[in-house]
Symmetry: C2
Subunit: 224 residues, 2 copies
């Protein structure tokens, strides 16, 4: 574990959803203390108990309501559904102040022709987070990680680069190191928050690729 | 050469620009007849003569004004600057009718903080092309190919997947096969035109990656 992430306690808001729970389990496996946040303490505790049973070691994951998870963590991953994104963050601005907030939310719609990017007034989910959390250090990352692969205990390595975006160099460095804790993943700096929209929206293209090729597509950046 | 692209004559509008000339040279090397289109016949003929000299075989590239290049080709690549995109296509709608039109234009702005995606009323350059060319078969592709690498004769293979987007399956199949003519490149279907915006805009992220890592970054899609 690199110095950047040693000693971090990671909270995952929306940690009972597929993406959130998958990321929580992988960070717990990497040896970090993890807090699963949910609107419901019952769901949070149930998800934490399941993850601890699956991990099979001493309890590394705790379930809390979102506000407590946010308060007790140093770094907070936002994996809530897009529909609840703005309201959840607005309600937690105090708890999230001064912390690294990693937004991995993809504002997508779905219809008969597949997935498509939804318009976001602030430009992107990450920029919405930055607007609602002026005292937090907002980073965008982990958009393209397949929830199916995260949830599959047989998958022990991921063929994937995690694009990390943000305007705070120390914060993006930390999140790159965090991504690097998951075997196979590499965290790469990929621009400022103003360029987060297309990274979020590209998830719609990966869904199209998955459909066409029956795959769980990921991205690798070449020549880096 | 696959059946899909055998016998194609490819025109490159804006073929005297870096991206256009680079693509033209690679398709000529792959054995296709290539027409370089420009607003200026002098610049088109000069670029064609340079490419033919560099290729060192019998003349495979001809220089023409954009309208003649569009008329004489089966497949037309649009590599004009974003500033001239709408006007150029509008003026060529007759010549481009019935043809596969491959848009590789990235609507980007640049300032002291780097590159960023410009807003496009139609959503993307490709959707603008489709709106202006209702009788053409518009495909989006080749956004992320480094013009520097294309222009470098020492580069004989590209570590890159070309994301191909469109609503016409036969046309996207053809463009995938076209991408596959360039050594190392693989053409992958990556969604409908409505999801082209983020693929175009992602070029801004690749530019950020290039700056940070001193690279010529490309994309590979994993698990496909």
């Amino acid at each position: 574990m690199t110095d950047d992430v040693q000693g971090l306690t990671v909270a995952v808001l929306g940690g009972t959803g597929d993406q959130g729970e998958g990321l929580a389990s992988r960070f717990a496996r990497a040896g970090l203390p993890v807090l699963i946040g949910s609107r419901s303490i019952d769901r949070a505790e149930k998800a934490a108990a399941e993850l601890n049973a699956a991990l099979g070691t001493e309890p590394a994951v705790r379930g809390l309501v979102n506000a407590d998870a946010a308060s007790q963590a140093n770094l907070v991953i936002v994996a809530v559904p897009w529909e609840g994104h703005a309201a959840t963050l607005q309600s937690l601005s105090t708890e999230l102040a001064g912390k690294i907030v990693v937004d991995c939310v993809n504002p997508l719609g779905f219809d008969a022709r597949g997935a498509f990017a939804l318009p976001v007034p602030e430009g992107s989910a990450a920029e919405q987070a930055a607007a609602l959390l002026p005292d937090s250090r907002v980073v965008a990352a982990f958009h393209h990680v397949s929830a199916v692969l995260l949830a599959d205990p047989a998958i022990t390595s991921f063929d994937l680069d995690v694009l990390v975006l943000g305007d705070d160099r120390e914060a993006t460095d930390t999140v790159q190191a965090l991504a690097g804790l998951i075997p196979g993943m590499r965290g790469l700096y990929a621009g400022r928050l103003r360029n987060a929209r297309q990274v979020e929206a590209l998830t719609a293209n990966l869904i199209s690729i998955n459909r066409r090729y029956k795959a769980h597509a990921g991205l690798r950046i070449t020549d880096v």
